[in-house]
């Protein structure tokens, strides 16, 4: 990720239509499942909040914990990692490695005092476009309840 990932704060301002604060979300998606799922959601014209920023990775195993940490450092209100269901990895076992790594990342965030609700991990397949859209909506709602992330240096 380059420096340009800095969250542009206008994104997190009030949504014109709903007049509701829209949290910024960094979503790290596996190319073979959840990214395709997002694609499906898009082509099926399913609505989901536009303040989600998607980073496509070849496999959830590529979702380096540093991506998650960098997301919080740069002020995203929430970070999510989505990968193929266990057993369905395009590379046979990448998501099994991801599972441990993400579990430890959750623990690290907890140890650092970042609310667990700000980091979301889920298995989403390529056919689950509606589920993808629902997940983003649900995560957004959850973050709206929490309010803006005040930053790691508050």
């Amino acid at each position: 990720m380059s420096e340009q990932t800095t969250v542009e704060k206008e994104d997190t301002q009030l949504n014109e239509q709903t007049k509701e604060w829209q949290p910024s979300i960094l979503a790290i998606l596996c190319n073979w499942c959840s990214y395709a799922g997002a694609d499906l959601a898009g082509s099926a014209r399913m609505q989901y909040p536009e303040t989600v920023r998607i980073v496509r990775v070849p496999c959830s195993g590529r979702a380096d914990p540093m991506f998650v940490l960098k997301g919080f450092q740069k002020g995203f209100d929430g970070v999510m990692v989505l990968g193929c269901h266990p057993g369905d990895c395009h590379y046979a076992k990448g998501n099994y490695y991801a599972r441990r790594r993400i579990a430890m990342t959750q623990d690290l965030l907890k140890a650092l005092g970042i609310p667990a609700e700000r980091f979301h991990f889920e298995w989403v397949s390529a056919s689950e476009g509606n589920r993808f859209s629902a997940l983003i909506k649900e995560f957004t709602r959850q973050l709206q309840e929490l309010g803006p992330f005040e930053g790691v240096d508050r």
């Binding site: 990720m1 380059s2 420096e3 914990p65 540093m66 940490l69 960098k70 450092q73 266990p86 076992k93 099994y96 490695y97 599972r99 441990r100 790594r101 993400i102 579990a103 430890m104 990342t105 959750q106 623990d107 690290l108 140890a111 650092l112 005092g113 970042i114 979301h120 991990f121 889920e122 298995w123 589920r131 629902a134 997940l135 649900e138 930053g151 790691v152 240096d153 508050r154």
Partner: protein
């Protein structure tokens, strides 16, 4: 005496040609400190010492010195855990290390001696006397309780004899039981706590450099592209550095506490990795310093591993 045996074993290993060098502790510039020494001549083995101030984890030198050829290393049980990790992660070959393991009941934190009646400049020697530290000056002998002087991580350590060694020396005495690592302020608001801690970080990287588990040739924070963390000493950049370092130490950190000892601004850097490792032990049955574990924690998986997914439908 343990110190004599260390010297004899080092001498034997050097004379026989088994090792080209022995890494150990030598007398420091002041009696309450020690310093790493690299002995390559059997005549010089009397430079090696053993006392309660032998705190450095010498395994940090192995990646450089044991790359080609065999070296000896004097190691406490925690240092041995570091060596085990380095071997497991293929940074050092087992056949390139001759481990002179020393039983240990904890080492002292020199700065904690400054309190009370003892003046650092007057100290002439430190030695254990059962559960107490006997501090000798030219005129006085003072006993300090282990609880007051032990290096923080030694307080909860239950690893008293080296798990792997080529020669094992000395029996460990448990200095005091039921000691707990105390980190004031940590349990309250953690986000605020760590922001405060990291706001002090001067980015000297002493924690990283002193750490045997931080063996990367180029640390992520020294990379220019991608620039994971900027060099500036601001809280968010320091947060990124320490948080990532903690993540990188999961399954590697053996809680020797060197990073916390050397930090000039008192950041308890070891704490994050220590907590994560405790979780890893419970959840995956993995311990960083365990010679039985053949694969790194995050370079391995079980089909029935805990599922961190939220399972929201």
């Amino acid at each position: 005496m343990i110190q004599d045996t260390i010297r004899q074993e080092a001498k034997k290993a050097l004379e026989s040609g088994e090792v080209r060098m022995v890494i150990g502790w030598g007398a420091g510039s002041v009696p309450f400190k020690t310093t790493p020494v690299f002995v390559d001549n059997p005549q010089d083995t009397d430079k090696l010492i053993w006392n309660p101030a032998c705190t450095n984890n010498l395994a940090v030198y192995l990646t450089k010195l044991a790359r080609d050829g065999k070296v000896g290393i004097v190691a406490k049980p925690c240092d041995v855990r570091s060596i085990v990790t380095l071997i497991r992660e293929k940074q050092v070959k087992r056949e390139n290390v001759f481990i002179i393991g020393v039983g240990c009941g904890g080492v002292v934190d020199a700065t904690s001696l400054q309190n009370g009646d003892v003046k650092l400049r007057e100290i002439t020697s430190l030695e254990w006397d059962g559960g107490d530290l006997l501090v000798t000056t030219e005129t006085t002998k003072t006993k300090l309780s282990a609880a007051a002087v032990l290096r923080e991580q030694c307080k909860e350590c239950d690893d008293r004899t080296p798990s792997v060694s080529d020669v094992s020396i000395g029996e460990a005495v448990v200095r005091a039981s039921d000691l707990k690592i105390e980190i004031p302020g940590l349990s309250e608001d953690r986000q605020k706590y760590w922001a405060e801690q990291f706001s002090r970080c001067i980015r000297c990287y002493a924690c990283r450099q002193v750490c045997p588990a931080c063996y990367c040739e180029t640390c992520f924070c020294d990379r220019i592209e991608p620039k994971w963390t900027a060099k500036k000493a601001t809280t968010d950049e320091a947060w990124m550095f320490h948080a990532t370092r903690a993540m990188h130490l999961v399954g590697r950190c053996i809680s020797c506490g060197e990073c916390e000892r050397v930090c000039p601004v008192g950041i308890p850097a070891v704490e994050l990795a220590r907590e994560l490792n405790a979780i890893a032990k419970e959840r995956y049955g993995f311990e960083a310093g365990d010679p039985q574990a053949d694969k790194p924690l995050l370079g391995n998986y079980q089909e029935n591993d805990v599922d961190p997914a939220h399972h929201s439908e």
